[in-house]
Amino acid sequence: MLIGKVVGSVWATKKLDSFEGKKLLIIQPFNEDMKPEDKFIVAVDTVQAGKGDIIFYATSKEAAIPFKNDKMPADAAIVGIIDGFSL
C-alpha cells in the first residue's frame, strides 16, 4: 500500500453506477522524503477520510477488495487513516 495526503474531493453526478454513494477523494502520494509529491490521483474512500488526513491506499486489483461483492472497478481505494508513525 502507498501513503498520501487527502487534498480535496471530486463530485460527479454522471458516473459509473458502482461509484454511487461513494466519496471520491483527491490524494497527493508521498515521495521518498514522505512529503506530498507533485502528482494527484482520485481514490474511492472506504474509511471516511477527510481533507488533510494522512492515509494509506490500495492500488490495482487490491483496490477492489474492500468492495468485494459489488465489484468496484476502481484502481485506488483509501483503506486507512494514519494516526501516527513510530519511527
Binding site: L2, I3, F56, A58, S60, P66, V79, G80, I81, S86
Partner: protein, 90 residues
C-alpha cells in the same frame, strides 16, 4: 521478493477491519549494500519484524492471500522474513 529496511510501524485506528491482527510496517527498499531506493510503502508483517530490521518483502496480492489465508485484506505487500545477513560475493 525485495530487500527492505523497516523504518517503523504505523498507528491507525480507522482502517479496513481485515487488517486486524496484523502490524502495518513502514518499509523502504534497500540495495544489497544497504542504500535506500524508491519510495517508502506499507507492508503487513507476518514474521514479527521490528524497526531497523532488514526484511524480505513479497509484493504480490496472491502470495499475501496464501500466507494470510484471507482474500479480504486490501494489501499486496507482506514481510516474509527478517534477514540476518546479506552476502554480496560476486
Amino acid at each position: 521478493m525485495i530487500l527492505c529496511k523497516v523504518l517503523g510501524s504505523v498507528y491507525s485506528t480507522k482502517k479496513n477491519k481485515n487488517f486486524k491482527g496484523y502490524k502495518i510496517m513502514l518499509v523502504r527498499e534497500i540495495t544489497p549494500s544497504g542504500n535506500f531506493k524508491g519510495k517508502p510503502f506499507l507492508a503487513i508483517d507476518a514474521t514479527d519484524s521490528g524497526k531497523g530490521d532488514t526484511v524480505l518483502v513479497i509484493k504480490d496480492g496472491g502470495s499475501l492471500q496464501i500466507i494470510t489465508k484471507s482474500k479480504d485484506i486490501p494489501e499486496n505487500a507482506i514481510i516474509a522474513g527478517v534477514v540476518d545477513q546479506v552476502n554480496l560475493e560476486v
